[in-house]
């Protein structure tokens, strides 16, 4: 079998990650074009029903390693390396996500394999896969091919759409002996939420705050501005959440939420790719930033180069006055 192997990540309740399901759907589509099959790898406590259910997304087989814990990359490298070696897979595909980066990177070393990351599209050329990878702050797109098998493909967040195309998958239970160094990291707590549980996904208008706000107090001005719109809420970048300025539940991007409000108004947000992937589908993007070279201006509909501390309060007042 020269197929495509996909890692399907799940949470502690057994729900599969949307980006993993997207990767399964993409793998099934590409496998069809290559005339081969796509399969999934799951680890930990996944029920028969849960594993078979992945067949809906077009994979024909699900390799399940029950004895291997979910949540850390290195044990999963052991599992995938064994399955790829034993059953001769040509490609390993990952949806956007941190674990996919780590597992894919580990496989690169273990299998002497080529790796392409932040992939936004995959195409078939001469019976092989070629990845589209945006580089240099998305100013160019490189088409990357592989000179040998297997090839490792790590998708960008939300790159692959979830599509149901198949039926039920066959479960293959695998017993994997872990490498000595794969058991040296212990997951003490997983998925801890920090800060208030705020809902940003239902808002029509999001004020996205970044490091340019200067401190947690900058978010007071963001909340005032959000209050000047109907159904407005405040979102945040990873940098400020990690700094403890705003709750994790409000975080946009790679390790946060993906949103598409009518208006995304970014204040003091530089526009790193990890943030961009979580908000680029907003209907309208407005950015206020003092750095004229900030990447966010590359994908804003309206960019304001200036001091947000001066502009935001006046903008809030003007919007409130207009609403009356």
């Amino acid at each position: 079998m020269a197929g495509i192997l996909v890692y399907a990540l799940h949470d502690d309740e057994g729900n599969f990650n949307k980006n993993s399901l997207g990767a399964l759907s993409e793998a099934a589509k590409l496998a069809g074009e290559l005339g081969t099959e796509a399969a999934a790898v799951v680890v930990g406590d996944v029920s028969d029903e849960g594993a078979q259910g992945l067949g809906k997304y077009g994979v024909t087989k699900v390799y399940r390693a029950k004895n291997v814990p979910e949540g850390l990359a290195q044990p999963i490298v052991d599992v995938m390396a064994k399955v790829i070696n034993d059953d001769g897979f040509s490609y390993a595909l990952f949806g956007g996500g941190l674990l996919g980066f780590e597992i894919g990177a580990g496989l690169t070393a273990r299998l002497s394999a080529g790796v392409t990351m932040e992939v936004t599209a995959v195409k078939v050329a001469d019976g092989k896969l070629v990845c589209e990878r945006p580089i240099l702050q998305d100013s160019e797109v490189a088409d990357v091919g592989y000179v040998s098998e297997p090839g490792i493909i790590i998708g960008r967040l939300n790159a692959f759409d979830v599509k149901e195309s198949g039926g039920s998958a066959e479960i293959v239970d695998v017993d994997v002996e872990l490498s000595e160094w794969s058991s040296k990291a212990e997951l003490i707590t997983r998925g801890e939420q920090r800060g208030a549980d705020v809902d940003i996904e239902a808002a029509d208008v999001l004020i996205g705050g970044g490091r340019g706000l200067g401190g947690p107090e900058g978010f007071d001005a963001c909340e005032d501005l959000a209050g000047a719109f109907d159904n407005g809420a405040v979102a945040a970048t990873r940098a400020v959440v990690d700094a403890g300025w705003y709750p994790y539940a409000a975080q946009i991007g790679q390790t946060g939420k993906t949103v598409a409000p009518k208006l995304y108004l970014a204040v003091g947000v530089s526009g790193a790719i990890q943030h961009k992937v979580g908000m680029m589908n907003s209907e309208t993007i407005v950015a206020i930033n003092k750095d004229a070279n900030a990447p966010i201006f590359e994908f804003s509909d309206l960019g304001v180069v200036g001091d947000l501390n001066k502009i935001m309060p006046k903008l809030t007042a003007a919007l409130k006055a207009k609403k009356g």
Partner: protein
């Protein structure tokens, strides 16, 4: 105990980066700088050394790159590293992630570190992968994108954001840790440290010195190939307002939003 910190020289953030379409490689001829993420890795190493929970005898800065990459090492030493190692060889040119991993793993093996620290991403390639690649070669525990790190019972207790929120992970040594920029606020080097950096030991090593097989590194050892370079899908450029008179700026923003029925 020894800590190795990996550093990289990258094009300065203010410089417009471009690809040389002849070689399909990044044009590195302009102004270069120490990768900003690596300054956080150096700071993390210094905090471990100064913290006293681990007996850190030595912090060694390690890089792979052309001759000019020495400047990144000098900056690392100015920030506190005790000495540095420069893997420099024409045979390494054109290495992809896989080939870079083989080469860097070999130079690290020659140092036998207890902890390897690096920035979670380089400012130029933005591959996010080198930490996990090296951990597998070196057979060490590993975690990337770490934003908080403490020593507890001789282990590194690390926090990072993953798919479902914050994860806390305890790693036994030896370990490879890739850090995010939220982990610390890097110090500024003192003038004395900058002046003294050139006097600290710097080892330059070649592919041959390390016993690396030239077929496994550089372009020869790379497993990916850039077959084409295309412009991104065209997006209509947005309007830009330069704020000179804030009252006027705000008026323009409100009118712009109003026109699109966003108020």
């Amino acid at each position: 105990m020894k800590i190795c910190v990996l550093v990289k020289e990258v094009p300065d953030a203010a410089v417009q980066k471009r690809i040389d379409t002849g070689t399909m490689r990044l044009d590195r001829s302009g102004e270069n700088n120490l990768n900003p993420f690596d300054t956080h890795a150096i700071e993390a190493a210094m905090q471990l050394k100064e913290g006293g929970d681990l007996q850190v005898d030595e912090v060694v800065a390690v890089t792979m790159g052309p001759g000019s990459a020495q400047r990144a090492l000098q900056k690392a030493v100015a920030l506190g590293a005790d000495r540095s190692v420069h893997l420099c060889d024409d045979a390494l040119v054109g290495s992809d992630v896989c080939a870079t991993g083989v080469a860097l793993a070999k130079v690290l093996e020659s140092e036998s570190p207890d902890i390897v620290l690096l920035g979670q991403q380089s400012d130029d390639g933005e591959c996010y992968t080198m930490g996990a690649v090296l951990a597998d070669h070196l057979k060490m525990a590993s975690l990337t994108q770490v934003v908080n790190m403490d020593v507890e019972d001789g282990k590194l207790r690390c926090e990072r954001q993953a798919e479902y929120g914050y994860d806390t992970v305890a790693l036994s040594l030896p370990a490879v840790i890739a850090v995010g920029d939220a982990i610390n606020e890097p110090r500024y080097p003192s003038l004395k440290a900058i002046m003294g950096a050139k006097k600290k030991p710097l080892d330059t090593k070649s592919v041959g010195d390390l016993g690396l097989n030239p077929a496994e590194v550089g372009e020869a050892g790379s497993k990916t190939t850039v077959v084409a370079l295309n412009p991104p899908p065209a997006k209509q450029a947005g309007e830009i307002i330069e704020d000179e008179d804030t009252a006027e700026t705000v008026e323009k923003i409100v009118a712009w939003l109003d026109e699109r029925k966003l108020i």
